[in-house]
């Protein structure tokens, strides 16, 4: 590395290395087209090429890669879910994340911090015990701890929460981590690009050509592309894409907001979540506190952020950490979350042959990036969803076999 840097000191030219080719004109046809150049879509492209040898793939991104919910989440990775199906799935994702910097040859700043879900009421404690038992049963390291252990891990936390909502205990989840979210998208993009996948930015899909119940191609602002397989991995745009193929889903869109504080010296080395106070907070490698809250309370297809959100969130942050009263919020933003009734994703095949769905990622999508890419690649390659994602199939709603994960959502939505 130092020698490579030295070379630039001697040279008058300092070209930035490109992560992937700047593709502009799509070919007439591809073996598979992926709509959405976020973490999920790019990961699917990467595993299609790496594990299944399908490299004649186009990824179409309306804006720029990683600019949607991949770049708008609060970067938390965890697997302390409520259903065994959910815990197994997210645990497989954590395992992939742990080796991902190595796989992609890119430092993702993956940092295992431990994760506390604070409980302020007896009923919340009951859910924590339930989740701990399910997690242990599946082999995931989660257990219930008392206030003393929480204070030891985070001495700055006011355990009484200003006397408003005293903390009774927490679900501790050892593998809880944070990572650089945009690096995940860029790493997958580079890996996929090296194997031949073509990534088109500023490329919007305007229609999907379905004939006789089968996908034949997609219409884009760069022309028509014929293909038999289309993956929709578009987060908050899922209802719009599904409308193009006339596939019904339960998904509605609600904004989810987040914000960061000004940078501080490192003081918070765990991830803290409080369902009752509607808060999750961790400190990034830049020193900023990354803070999120619950969903905005009604349907809007917009990424506008609001003052109400920052006021509400920071009030609760001050209940937990009164000493932060002089710290400033420097940035806030919103993403469009596609919410399902059971708080589990919708993955796999659809009634339209060749149209695959990776959707319903609501507020829990980033942590699933590697495993969703891997399982969706398998689904596309074999035209059959692997068992790991069977509980997330679209047809579960018609069959009344929901996968209830609301109790494991980071905050009570």
């Amino acid at each position: 590395m130092p020698l490579r840097l030295l070379k630039y000191a001697m040279s008058r030219e300092h070209p930035a290395p490109r992560f992937f080719r700047a593709c502009e004109t799509p070919k007439k046809s591809y073996d598979a087209v992926i709509i959405g150049g976020g973490g999920h879509g790019l990961a699917a492209a990467y595993y299609l090429a790496r594990d299944h040898g399908i490299t004649n793939v186009a990824v179409l991104e309306r804006g720029y890669i990683g600019g949607g919910n991949t770049g708008r989440n609060t970067t938390i990775v965890r697997s302390n879910y409520l259903t065994p199906e959910g815990v197994n799935f997210y645990n497989a994702s954590v395992k992939l994340f742990e080796d991902l910097s190595h796989d992609l040859d890119l430092n993702l700043f993956y940092s295992t911090r431990g994760h506390f879900t604070l409980a302020h009421t007896e009923s919340a404690m009951r859910t924590m015990r339930w989740r701990a038992e399910v997690n242990k049963h599946v082999g995931v390291e989660s257990y219930v701890v008392g206030p003393d252990e929480i204070s030891k891990a985070c001495p700055q936390l006011d355990i009484s929460c200003s006397g408003q909502a005293p903390i009774l205990g927490a679900l501790y989840h050892a593998p809880g981590s944070v990572a650089r979210h945009d690096a995940v998208a860029w790493g997958y993009a580079r890996g996929a690009d090296h194997m031949g996948v073509e990534i088109f930015q500023s490329t919007e899909v305007t229609g999907i050509d379905v004939q006789g119940g089968k996908v034949k191609g997609v219409q884009t602002n760069r022309g028509y592309i014929s293909t038999n397989k289309v993956l929709s991995a578009v987060a908050g745009f899922t209802p719009r894409v599904c409308k193009m193929v006339d596939v019904q889903t339960p998904i509605i869109i609600q904004p989810l907001q987040a914000c960061v504080s000004e940078p501080m010296k490192p003081w918070l080395d765990t991830i803290l979540v409080s369902g009752s106070l509607h808060v999750y907070v961790s400190q990034s490698s830049r020193g900023e506190l990354v803070m999120g809250s619950s969903l905005d309370p009604y349907e809007v297809h917009s990424t506008r952020s609001s003052l109400d959100f920052v006021e509400g969130l920071t009030t609760h942050i001050l209940d937990m950490f009164p000493f932060l009263s002089n710290v400033k919020v420097v940035r806030q933003w919103a993403g469009m979350a596609d919410i399902t009734p059971d708080f589990a994703p919708i993955m796999g095949k659809t009634p339209v042959e060749g149209f695959y769905l990776d959707a319903g990622w609501g507020t829990w999508g980033f942590k699933a990036t590697p495993i969703s890419g891997k399982t969706m690649a398998e689904t596309i390659a074999n035209d059959r969803a692997p068992d790991l994602i069977n509980s997330f199939r679209l047809s579960r709603f018609e069959e009344y076999e929901l996968t209830g994960e609301k109790g494991a959502a980071s905050v009570g939505h």
């Binding site: 209802p239 599904c242 889903t249 069959e399 009344y400």
Partner: protein, 87 residues
């Protein structure tokens, strides 16, 4: 602060209201198929556009209809259920 007009109480801050989802016609459970019923129970029209929605004004306990563009978050009009024509 966002505002919404309650047909009974006039313009009030949005924090006083609760969103009740899109107005949807219930199929007759005695005659519809299982698939139609499951579609009614679970599936939603999630695509953006002008929609008729249920809203609830908490302090006065009033349910009413708002016609709102879910893309721009602009409310065209609000009225009590069944009183659409009187507005």
């Amino acid at each position: 602060m966002k505002l919404l007009k309650c047909p009974m109480n006039g313009v009030r801050p949005l924090s006083e209201f609760v969103f009740g989802g899109e107005v949807r016609e219930m199929p007759d459970p005695n005659t519809c198929s299982d698939k139609e019923w499951a579609t009614y129970v679970h599936h939603r029209n999630g695509a953006p556009g002008m929609k008729k929605e249920w809203w609830y004004h908490g302090p006065s306990g009033t349910w009413f209809i708002a016609e709102r563009n879910t893309m721009t978050d602009e409310v065209a009009r609000t009225y009590l259920y069944g009183q659409e024509d009187k507005q």
